[in-house]
Structures are given as structure tokens and as C-alpha cells.
């Protein structure tokens, strides 16, 4: 069995396992089956990346040759995102056991089945080379995500889930309209085939409308600034494990889809000319960086604060894309990977606090630095990464972003990146200040350190943050290969 034949199984294994999972009773077996499925999926994804970086893998489903049949087409860009998604799920799952037992005590079979569906949907989006298939997988993962968010114990989780459903479906339908226009103009749904046939017809308003629909649709799913309204509530009220998983994967995959369409299907020398994409994305990215960081500084709930911080981090990625160069796009991919690492670590630390204290409000964290030193130290160290302190993963991606900006002489962007990083210092500091420099009031219950089952995965992620801050071969290499794959081998505009 070659890697090409093995590669689709990283999607199929979670999909099949979700059926099994839904039928399993109790608390242990659903989790165990999920863990095995996720690890298998991650291992396959890990083997796919080196192979895909050398030559584009193509798998035709049902042996129908593309472009007639559905094709999984994997190059460095997909494989990089797929490894990130599957890897994050595999790291988060050992952490999930205790947290989910506490927050979702009943019907865990259904809960883990939804999780596996969301995972296989996200992986399907990344690996698929068929536009309509991408829409279907997008809806699979979205519908599963709405269900997962609604599992939150607070009743506001239901509202958050419903509002996400409305906005997410509008976004996905926009994508469908865009794909429909492309199909009408070219008669094909295969991405590679689309890229070949589009140049003949691309000077029509239909194709321009398709580009606009796809960008707005994916902008919704990716929480680009004015379209981010679903994100803070969804992240705040979802069960901790769901937040941990979504923060690292869902928006990243949406960004990947947008990039795949803008760069591979429409070719950047057209898509960035026909619409003022570069300017729009730069303004929205910078606005997201500022608005997200600004609002995060005043949040009384740490989970919501981190959610707004996610909006800001998406801004960095969008900014990297807007520079339309190999190094800018590499910075975007790098930040996509590194942000998943740091946000997952932060949400895990907060989830651990919620497990012990039952709340993530800033006033309930007071004085916890002394009683839960390992948890809060993990939070502080992951916080360093999100600020972008040297030797952390966050520094590497911001460094590349700054280089990309300087490369085009946009020095004011450097100032903006530094200012927003300082804003990150403030919001991370608020937690550290509450945890170490404020006394716990007598009315609040005393809590001890969290169990090791929660601490160890959190610290593994914190360690990864530092590891990828020092040894950047995998991340920078992968991100550069991904950027070059999207730009068609080092092409510059």
C-alpha cells in the first residue's frame, strides 16, 4: 500500500469510527475508540506531509479518473494543514478525558461521535481536490461543530450555537454560490481543472462574483474582522475540550480554503488585480489585530478574552496573506501552525482551571498562582508565546511577518504588529496579576493542583511552543513549502 492509497484514510478512519462511537455506551469506550482513530489519522497525516512535499499526491475515488470523479489532491499546503488538524486533535484528546467527564457527563458516545465527524470534515476539506466535495465536508464539520458547542453547560451555549449556525450556514451557502458560478462558467468542479479552464473565461462578471462570494463566505467561517461575531460566544460557552479543538483547527481550515481558491484556482495575478484584495485584506487584518486585542484587554472572562485574542491572531494571518509574496504567505502558514499551538495550550490551561474551580472569570482566578502553580505557569509560558517573546513559536511567526512587511517597505505594518503585541502583553498580564498578585478571598473555596491527566498534555503543548520556537526546521520548512505550492513554485506578483 503506497502513501497515496493510505492518505484518504486519515479522513475515512474518523468518519467510520464516529459511527462506531455513536453506538458505544459508557464513558471509557467512546473516548478510547476516538483516541485510537485520531492517532491513526494523525500518523497517516504525518507520513503524508514529507511525501506530498516532494510530489503532489492524487487519489481518485472509486477509480473514476479526475476530473470526472472526486479526487483527493494533496500537495505541501494541504498536507501541512492536515497534519496540523490531526496532530492537534491527537494532542488534545488525552486531555479531553477528565474535562469531558466533568462537563459532558452523559451520552458521551454521541459527543465523541460529533467530535470525530467534525475532525473528519475538517480533514476532508483540506485533502479534497473537488470544489463541491469541499462544500459537503465543510457542512459536515460545521453541523457537528454546532452540536458540540450546544453541549456547553451554560444555557447561553445554545444561543451561541444557534447564532453560529445561522452565520456559518450563510457562509457555507455563499461558498456554494461561488462554486456554482464557477461550474456554470467552466463545467468542472475539480480544483486543478478549474485552474486550467478559468483563464479563458475569467474576464466576466460571473467569475468576479464567484471570487467575491467565496471570499466573503470563507471570511465568515474564518472569523475575519467584521464577520467574526459568532466566534467569541461560541468559544466562551462551548465545553472546554471543544474550545481547545476548535481554536486550533476550525478557523485555520477556513483560511486554507480561502487561500486555495484565491491562489490556486484563481491565480494571484488575477484575483489580486480584479478586486483590491491586497488592500482589503490588509485593512481587515490590521483592524482585526487591533479590535481583537483591544476588546480582549477588557474581558472579565478569560475564555472570552482568548476568543477575542483569536480574532486578533486571525488578523495576523490575513495580514500575511495580503502581502502576496512567498515570505508573506509563509508567515501566514507559520502563524496558522504556531497560533494553533499557543491557543490550544492557553485554552487547555484555562480548561484545567475550569475543571478545578468551575469558572474562568478573572476574579475566580485570584490567588490561584500559589495553589495551582503548574497550571498557571503553563498559562503564563503559553502567554509568552502569544505575545511573541523570543525563543517561543509566536516569536518565529511574528518575525517572519515583520520580514515580509519590511520586504515590501511597509514599515508602518511593523509598528502595528509591535503595538498589538504590546496589547497582548496587557491581556496576558491581567491573568498573571490576578493569579499571583491578588489574594484569594475567604469566601472562595480552596483548590489544589489539577490532576496530572490534565497537566501533562498541557505541558506537552507548552513544550512544543518552545521547541518550535528554537527548532524551526519543520514549521518554517513546511510553511515555505506550503506557500510555494500555493504560489506555484516561487512565483512573485
Amino acid at each position: 500500500m503506497t502513501i497515496t492509497e493510505l492518505m484518504p484514510f486519515s479522513v475515512l478512519v474518523p468518519l467510520i469510527a464516529s459511527l462506531v462511537c455513536a453506538l458505544l455506551p459508557g464513558r471509557f469506550w467512546p473516548w478510547a475508540v476516538t483516541l485510537v482513530a485520531v492517532i491513526v489519522s494523525a500518523v497517516i497525516a504525518a507520513f503524508t506531509l514529507p511525501a506530498a512535499a516532494q510530489v503532489t499526491l492524487s487519489y481518485a475515488f472509486g477509480n473514476w479518473p479526475p476530473p470526472i470523479g472526486i479526487e483527493y489532491r494533496v500537495d505541501a499546503a494541504n498536507a501541512f494543514v492536515a497534519l496540523l488538524v490531526a496532530g492537534m486533535a491527537a494532542v488534545a484528546l488525552p486531555w479531553a478525558k477528565k474535562s469531558v467527564d466533568k462537563e459532558v457527563p452523559e451520552r458521551q458516545g454521541a459527543f465523541y461521535a460529533l467530535f470525530l465527524l467534525a475532525l473528519s470534515g475538517l480533514l476532508g476539506i483540506t485533502l479534497s481536490g473537488d470544489a463541491f466535495n469541499i462544500f459537503v465536508f465543510l457542512e459536515i464539520s460545521s453541523l457537528a461543530t454546532y452540536g458540540l458547542i450546544a453541549h456547553g453547560s451554560d444555557r447561553r451555549a445554545l444561543l451561541a450555537s444557534f447564532r453560529y449556525l445561522i452565520m456559518g450556514t450563510v457562509g457555507a451557502t455563499f461558498l456554494l454560490i461561488g462554486i456554482g458560478f464557477l461550474y456554470i462558467m467552466t463545467g468542472t468542479l475539480n480544483l486543478a481543472d478549474l485552474a486550467e479552464r478559468l483563464p479563458e473565461v475569467r474576464d466576466t462578471s460571473t467569475v468576479r462574483a464567484a471570487l467575491a462570494f467565496i471570499i466573503v463566505g470563507m471570511g465568515l467561517k474564518l472569523a475575519m474582522l467584521p464577520l467574526h461575531l459568532w466566534l467569541p460566544n461560541a468559544y466562551t460557552y462551548a465545553p472546554s475540550f471543544v474550545t481547545v479543538f476548535l481554536a486550533g483547527t476550525a478557523t485555520k481550515v477556513a483560511l486554507y480554503v480561502m487561500l486555495r481558491f484565491v491562489f490556486t484556482v484563481f491565480a494571484p495575478d488575477w484575483s489580486f488585480v480584479v478586486l483590491p484584495l491586497s488592500t482589503v485584506l490588509m485593512i481587515l487584518g490590521v483592524a482585526g489585530m487591533f479590535a481583537g486585542s483591544w476588546v480582549a484587554m477588557f474581558q472579565p472572562n478569560i475564555k472570552r478574552m482568548l476568543a477575542y485574542s483569536s480574532v486578533a491572531q486571525v488578523g495576523y494571518m490575513v495580514l500575511g496573506v495580503s502581502l502576496v509574496s512567498v515570505i508573506g504567505l509563509s508567515a501566514a502558514f507559520l502563524h496558522l501552525f504556531n497560533h494553533a499551538l499557543m491557543k490550544t495550550a492557553l485554552f487547555m490551561a484555562v480548561g484545567t482551571v475550569i475543571y478545578q474551580v468551575g469558572s474562568a472569570r478573572l476574579k475566580d482566578v485570584r490567588g490561584l498562582g500559589r495553589t495551582m502553580p503548574w497550571t498557571l505557569t503553563a498559562f503564563a509560558l503559553a502567554g509568552l508565546s502569544i505575545i511573541g517573546v523570543p525563543l517561543t513559536a509566536g516569536f518565529v511567526s511574528k518575525w517572519y511577518l515583520i520580514q515580509a512587511a519590511l520586504d515590501q517597505g511597509q514599515w508602518f505594518l511593523v509598528v502595528l504588529i509591535l503595538v498589538t503585541s504590546l496589547m497582548a502583553v496587557i491581556y496576558i498580564w491581567r491573568v498573571i496579576e490576578a493569579a499571583w498578585f491578588q489574594e484569594r478571598s475567604i469566601k472562595q473555596p480552596d483548590v489544589g493542583e489539577a490532576p496530572l491527566a490534565l497537566l501533562i498534555p498541557t505541558w506537552i503543548l507548552v513544550a512544543l511552543n518552545f521547541y518550535f520556537g528554537i527548532d524551526t526546521r519543520l514549521t518554517v520548512g513546511g510553511a515555505t513549502a506550503a506557500a510555494e505550492a500555493l504560489l506555484g513554485g516561487g512565483m512573485t506578483p
Binding site: V136, L143, R156, F162, V170, G180, N301
Partner: protein
């Protein structure tokens, strides 16, 4: 006039899409929001189906004496999209039921305001 009439499907698509989208945005009632969403999706289905029609074409079944037939691919795609739409509606309505149980109302305007703590 003829051009308008010959594109009647697409006019229907645009009108339906706008009605649906308006419902989603302007209506506070969650059931109405979901129905608006449904209408919005249905308009896209019609768009796809219209694109598959070929003037003078027959149904896409292989048989004697038929040379020209409609493109069957959009039909198949939309079959899948309808399933997705039904699933979305089901999840949306299920959430509305749960919200009604938790809040006693499905009017979106003021729900969530009365929850204290870390809101907004």
C-alpha cells in the same frame, strides 16, 4: 422583455435569495430565521438546477433516438445539497426547541441579556 422572461429562473433565484436573506437578518423569531435560511439555500438549489438545463434537451437517460439531454451533474450535486439543507434545518430547529426549554422564548432580541456575570 424577452430577455427578462428567458432568464425568469434567475430572477426567481435572486428574489428568493433576497427574501430568505432578509428573513435571516431582520426576523427575531428563531423559527423564522431558520425558514429564511431554508429559502436562501433553496434559491441556490434553483440556480444550480437552472444551469443544468439545456434548451431542447431531454431527460438524461440513455435511450434510442436521444442525442441531446440536460446535464445531470447539477441534479446530483443539489440532491446532496438538499440533504445538507435538511440537516441544517433540523439542527437549527432542534436548537430552537432547546432554547425554548432553557429560556421560555425563541425571540432572539433580548435572550441572554438577563444572564449575569461575564456577559457581553
Amino acid at each position: 422583455m424577452m430577455t427578462i422572461l428567458s432568464f425568469i429562473n434567475y430572477w426567481v433565484v435572486v428574489v428568493l435569495m433576497m427574501i430568505g436573506f432578509y428573513c435571516v437578518i431582520a426576523r427575531g423569531n428563531m423559527a423564522k430565521k431558520v425558514m429564511g435560511l431554508n429559502l436562501f439555500q433553496t434559491s441556490v438549489f434553483i440556480l444550480f438546477i437552472s444551469a443544468g438545463k439545456i434548451v431542447g434537451g431531454s431527460t438524461p437517460i440513455l435511450r434510442e433516438g436521444v442525442e441531446m439531454y440536460s446535464n445531470p451533474l447539477p441534479h446530483v450535486l443539489i440532491l446532496t445539497a438538499i440533504v445538507v439543507g435538511v440537516a441544517t434545518t433540523a439542527v437549527g430547529l432542534a436548537l430552537a426547541v432547546r432554547i425554548n426549554e432553557a429560556y421560555g422564548s425563541i425571540e432572539d432580541d433580548h435572550l441572554g441579556d438577563e444572564d449575569d456575570g461575564d456577559g457581553q
